[in-house]
Amino acid sequence: MIVDANDFDRPSHFDADICILGGGVAGIVLANELLTENKSIILLESGDDGFDGETQFLYEAESTPKYFPDPTWSRLRMLGGASNHWENSIERFDPIDFQRRNWIEHSGWPITYDEVAKYYPEAEAYCRVAKEGCDFSLWREKLTREGMFSDSSMFESVIAKSPASPTLFFEEYGKALVDNKSIRVIKNANVVDVDYQTEQQNVQAAVFQTFSGVQHRVKAKAFVMCMGGIENARMLLHFNERYDNKLGNQYDNVGRYFMEHPTVRAAHFLPLDENGIDKIHREGIVVDNELTLRGRASLSEHAQSEHQTFNMRMYFNKKSKIVLSDGVSSSHVVRNSLKESEIPDEFGSHLLNIIKDIDHIAESFLQKEFDRTLFDSVHEFGGYQLLAMIEQTPHRDNRIKLGTTTDAIGLKKIKIDFHVTEQDKQRTWKTLELLSKDTAIQKLGRIKLLKERESRIWGSQLGYGQHHMGTTRMSDRAEEGVVDASSKVFGTNNLYVAGSSVFPTGGHVPPTLTIVAMAIKLANEIKHRT
């Protein structure tokens, strides 16, 4: 059943076997997996089954770094969570993502790839991409030519899958929860505290309230935090203010090692043949009107290890001359620097680019200011823009912490510290250089590295996957993590965390499939413990 906390006009008490805090992807999958176990479940969701502005503003941050996406809007505080506005591009993590790599500090999971991978087929069914396998070789016959990297010694082609329409998790799986008598979904229920018994190390109850301020309690045998990569950390920090850091924060790890998927446009690919990139890499293919497959470049695990670098999710996107224009980009670099009363590095090169591409700049101005076209040729094919989503090295000082101002229900807002390290920037260039070498050897074309645009690439042009990871990281030692290999919070017997906040490393692909697989895995563990 589904009930609205706004209808509770006086403090209420509930009992359940399992209390799930958060009704996003992880919470819905977890609840769905536990339905068959005849256990009573209460799922608390801050939002409603539709968007509500007042609730959404509970996500507002006190401060964020320059150019970092506003967390008020990069998340959705409602049933189904971020699945209500995601791209639904699905990929599995790789075995190397779970290994300790001596060139990536703080890498290594306390569980193996195989322990998670056995749940990937079921997770793909949840995400509605289970129609065909992920193996690129299955799709060769559908391609116009052999796969782009079939002769490569370093790179391989990988498939990203998306269903024709994105999977909205509450819309898809909510009815099963609402129709089941053993589960009660309580919406508009903002979790504000937990009752924790220090000696027994047990969480006794979760406390939630509405905007009216009336508080209610849920007692349960087990609690699972499924509030998202930022909010899991925020709430755990909040709980720990009352309990002297006994909940997973004995070593000040909650909120730290925050990772995103920075996305860069740091190179252009100039093909010898405009159609030299096969269709699946160039624009993707649609299968039976149900599934979109898009090929991309992936650096092999052997090459990552040999060159001590990381993988990137690299797409080749066809672009016109004006989009790839050095002159247009240089004009932005120069203008942004002059605004700060500075002269940019490589000023001479930028001026030369502006002069050489003066028609591109003129066209760009005309289009923006007057919506007119003067130089038709600048809109012709210019090459491919390489869009790369990078793996971010976990860094202790990238973190979510509590500020001093509070939101509408009295909880401290967050402050975000985040930066891309010089090491990660250098690894990005290294992987792109390897791609330069490989595409040249295969006679596909040449790559131009856009190092003269670094200030923009890592500044105003830096994109993000909106993937929030690592803030309650998993470890086999409390000194290095927040949760153990079973996703149980250190220092507790019955508090668990689900979602990408437990990821010790973030890989280079969207986390949702792995979030779903881990939620299924966690459900299996909880079944045996409650």
Partner: protein
Amino acid sequence: MKNTRREFLQQLLAVSASIPLFNTAVMADAMENPLDGDNSRSTAIDECVEVYRIWRSTENIDPVSYLIDVLGRYNLAPNKISSAAKLDFQYKNFFDVNGLQLSKTEAAFLAHIGERHHT
């Protein structure tokens, strides 16, 4: 309208596979066949001059001497620029032209043409 870097590169790599290495007059003739407009030759030559300028500021050997040396090292015939280029990339013998990753042999070839037009 002007030739683009991509189209210039396409021309270079197409002709370099077939013409004798040091027959730069033939190369210049090849560049005079415009893809789209009268400015293509002058833009291609400008690119070569730019490559020569970068070569001169970074290398201690002139382009011709380098080409003789690399063909000897790879044991290749004079018209095998594309073969030399492939070997260059395998051995990470890059040459960076304002971010564009060329093989050093390709760059030497372009620099050699650019040297003739450099003032």
